[in-house]
Symmetry: C2
Subunit: 592 residues, 2 copies
């Protein structure tokens, strides 16, 4: 059975030594003193390790069941959800006006990471409730906010997002769910939604569905989509629950992983709903939530990598097999622990450098979301908009890859259910697909984000890289192992961006055929920048006489591995991009 | 539900236009005329598509059950096994003296590929029976051969290989299973073996276990290992079945995939066995079988990629979502089929180029096994020995990756069990682990094979690449799209080999830390060579007036994609290798 150790020390290092959050002028960050965040993280870590992690295998094996229209979540999930709700964890970064704790999104990201590492399928219920609440907070009327937010923040009710229909997922302009206006200002919602995570569940007393639908006679395509709130039980004026609404779960998907999370077919048969925000502006309402939602999926990628790595490492230290070729390390044992073998270390460091590099990237992303929301910082908003598809696509791909590598560390045991490694692989797999497939992320990046405001955001990114390199110019160790590789990788990214600008103009397929590689190329440079910053912070700590030299040295060495072994991917991504559209486009569709 | 279309045309292209088998002087190859192989492949294809493929989901969902010591395979497996046995497919390439069909191993590889694509878990029973038979054929006494081979070739009995024990898989020197010599020349075998594929099953009337064990007072480590044959039922002198032997199935593993194949804990409690080959030479006996066994696992990698690709392609042609940015392709539909989108094509071509390139590589491998066995060609034997770890490691990694990509083509549907794509991923995953993990393959390659006979085999490989490039020097299309990239990739491989020779001598960890990358680098160059050869064969066919231009053009275009989009990986692998041991070795094991 796998274990999970909350990486509180690693998180604290990022918050206080790399991001230096309490020195930031982002409103609310002054509260994030090390003692305070440490206490919060310790507490969240305990819940993750003691409450959620033991339910991870249970959730996988038991799954969810649908009986008489009611979905039963796996044994223990209801109680665990209540524990989180009671502790105020559901509304940690939510508006105090409605009962939230008002903490920065960054802190919620850090606690959510541990919950997700411990039990991804469980944490999805929490995350989607949070997402639905955020959408209502941003776009709902005062009455809607007063009705729903306190219940969602407190975990009394749960929330869902309903976008996909059987014939359309990516291309939402095709949706058929209808919303017929009623005389009382409400709408009758009719249609079928699929793959609705937590669409029906037994965790709370009510379920608040946010649903995309079309009001008849509106514009075609995505311009005719509106957003509605459709509660499972109608809410009386006094806040008590009224009639059952005409929304039902028509079935559960049987799927590769995240068995503990109910993936529902939802049937809306003239269900009563209310418009959220403006008519026909439903896509815009969804899009404003997308940065937060996609960042939380990026997190799932590296959070599974983290827990898988922890267990692979444990195995590699225990398992005796073969001898160190440079000299026996465990003379009293029948063999040496496999962590002595270079290829096992290569495997482990691939996992570790992605888990820790991914964490740095996502926390940096969370600080930008905080800045854009709390300080109305447009530059931060532009930067996070640019980086969101990179983080989501790159970190879920690499996070999944890391779980596969961690499984590989265990050899045959990794393939058995008993050791639990294969569940990390199956669970992590979904993150590459939902919240916009990674292919769609790459199109969002290259087709929408890259050129926004004349490429202002990516120029700012390059400027960041350049400044960091310049600031540390005299630092010889950093230079050879971090700055030079970062500079080369950043140059590859610039060359690729230039190629898109010149050759993409001639033929858009030149850019689109390279979009996926560009997303990964960008992900590597951004993660490389994170590692350079972490190495610098670790150097500083050592220079300032930190006593935990093992911890800081490990940061530097892991970063060095990333720069030497992961970052060289940028040259391959660039070469692929520069091969242009032809190798991808000339084969006739009929002849594949 | 997934479908499978036997790729007979692609196989025939390889056999007759690329490998030109019937022109070869390998004994027996003169029989392999196109009409004959076409008829055999059509027939095998029918069994694969009509008998085995429909049982693939059944096998996954139902799995195997153990009751009262007897393993029941999934519904339909027993009948399907009988169909294969009756058709003579089990002994297709086996010795006619014992009832085999005497065909080249190449033909068995081609039919086995289709069986494996259709139902990997099922085909493992066939493959392991074949492997056990081959080991007995190579090392058994005349009496053992007469007793076991006809029954194994005919599929009346099945066979297994018993190596792994709970405390050792890779490091077989640690095995504890004992073989006590008896007065009648037999041995009493005692110990526990785990992860024994098909260890207990209901497909045949008897099960022939080949077991590694130690005879007391022999040499320590691998030098004290002997090979034994231990039948489930003892065999009377007249060939009829006698007493039940003291070997029992102690449990079934619950695992990520290949549910239709029973993975057994096997308990030997003083079971009667007989020595196969020489005492203490068990490892050598296993090793002579390893090329064949590992080639069949390499095949599993691309065979799952093939069937996954077929289904991803079908989805990409049907699913309407979004519009071609360069102009609508399906004006009468609500959207264009997603195969118009560059990133979907990139994804499909990654799968296709690996499935078809992998097939070429493995078939070439099979011709070398035939040459070494039928013509006693030492050069062919040296070349296949060198390439086996490359094929096994590279093709199972890339094949798995292709199944993940194919799953991605389907978006959310790919994650559901209903569409069957996720099973391909779960089944393909094991091939990276068993028959020596891919990490072990890379050690075998760099630590053993590369330097054998002063590097003679890899020199011969480089010579092959060079000759092919030289022969086609005046071919301009081939030059730009195939020969130049191949030359550059081959140069990367040479540089890496040189690095190992110089820096690996200084410190073996410099070589070992780069072994995995070297295996992939080599795999890319070898697959690149295959694609160059296939493109040349397709060019020739078109020049000779072949009417099926779509087929041959597709070969050239797919190859072109491989060279432009996959082959650039060689530069990254080289850069990683050249970074040497330090980034992998300096972090203390305690500080990971």
């Amino acid at each position: 059975m796998p274990t999970f150790t909350p990486p509180v020390k690693d998180i604290q290092f990022l918050l206080h030594e790399v991001l230096k959050v309490s020195e930031s002028d982002t409103p609310g960050y002054d509260e994030l003193e090390a003692d305070f965040t440490g206490a919060v993280l310790e507490e969240a870590g305990k819940i993750a390790a003691n409450v959620l992690q033991p339910l991870n295998t249970v959730g996988d094996e038991e799954g969810c069941t649908l009986e008489n229209g009611v979905v039963r979540t796996p044994k223990g999930f209801k109680e665990a959800f209540a524990t989180l709700a009671e502790g105020g964890w559901m509304g940690l970064d939510c508006d105090p006006e409605y009962g939230g704790q008002g903490m920065p999104h960054l802190l919620n990201t850090a606690t959510g990471e541990m919950f997700s590492s411990a039990n991804m399928a469980f944490q999805m219920y929490v995350g989607l409730t949070h997402g639905a609440a955020s959408a209502l907070h941003e776009h709902g009327s005062d009455e809607q906010k007063a009705t729903y937010l306190p219940k969602l923040y407190s975990g009394e009710w749960t929330g869902t997002m309903n976008l996909t229909e059987p014939h359309c997922g990516t291309d939402l302009g095709l949706i058929r769910t209808k919303a017929e206006p009623q005389d009382d200002g409400s709408y009758k919602i009719s249609g079928q939604k699929i793959w609705i995570s937590g669409g029906e569940n037994d965790l709370g007393k009510n379920i608040v569905h946010l649903v995309l639908a079309k009001i008849p006679n509106g514009p075609d395509g995505v311009k005719g989509i509106s957003l509605f709130v459709v509660p499972k039980f109608l809410v009386n004026e006094d806040g008590s629950l009224g009639d059952r609404n005409a929304v039902t779960c028509g079935g559960l998907e049987s799927k590769m992983g995240i068995h503990g999370n109910s993936t529902c077919v939802m049937n809306y048969d003239g269900a009563t709903g209310w418009l959220v925000g403006e008519m026909h502006k439903g896509m815009r309402a969804m899009f404003t939530m997308m940065n937060e939602a996609r960042l939380s999926v990026a997190l799932q990628g590296y959070a599974q990598a983290e827990v898988a790595y922890q267990n692979a490492l444990g195995f590699a230290r225990d398992r005796l097999q073969g001898r160190d070729v440079t000299g026996t390390k465990n003379p009293n044992g029948t063999a040496d622990p496999i962590i002595v073998h270079p290829d096992v270390r290569r495997n482990l460091l691939d996992q570790k450098s992605i888990a820790e590099g991914g964490r740095a990237l996502v926390y940096w992303g969370a600080t930008m979301i905080d800045r854009s929301q709390r300080a109305d910082d447009k530059d931060a908003e532009a930067m996070i908009s640019l980086l969101i598809p990179v983080m989501k696509g790159f970190l879920t791909d690499k996070g999944f890859e890391a779980t596969v590598l961690a499984q590989q560390t265990l050899g045959g045991s990794g393939f058995t259910k008993e050791w639990g490694m294969e569940q990390f692989v199956r669970d992590a797999r979904i993150a590459m697909i939902y919240e916009g497939t990674n292919g769609i992320q790459s199109l969002d990046l290259v087709g929408r984000k890259l050129g926004q405001d004349g490429g202002k955001a990516i120029m700012a990114f390059f400027e960041m890289v350049k400044s960091f390199i310049k600031e540390n110019d005299g630092n010889d160790t950093l230079k050879a192992q971090f700055l030079d590789p970062l500079k080369a990788a950043s140059k590859d990214l610039q060359t690729a961006a230039m190629y898109f600008m010149s050759d993409g103009l001639k033929n858009p397929n030149n850019a689109l055929a390279g979009s996926y590689d560009f997303m990964h190329l960008f992900g590597h440079v951004a993660t490389g920048l994170m590692w350079a910053q972490m190495a610098k912070a670790a150097q500083d700590a050592l220079a300032n006489g930190a006593t935990d030299t093992a911890f800081y040295t490990a940061k530097i060495e892991t970063g060095r591995f990333y720069m030497a072994r992961q970052l060289p991917m940028t040259s391959t991504h660039l070469a692929r991009i520069q091969s242009g559209a032809d190798p991808v486009m000339t084969l006739e569709a009929a002849n594949f």
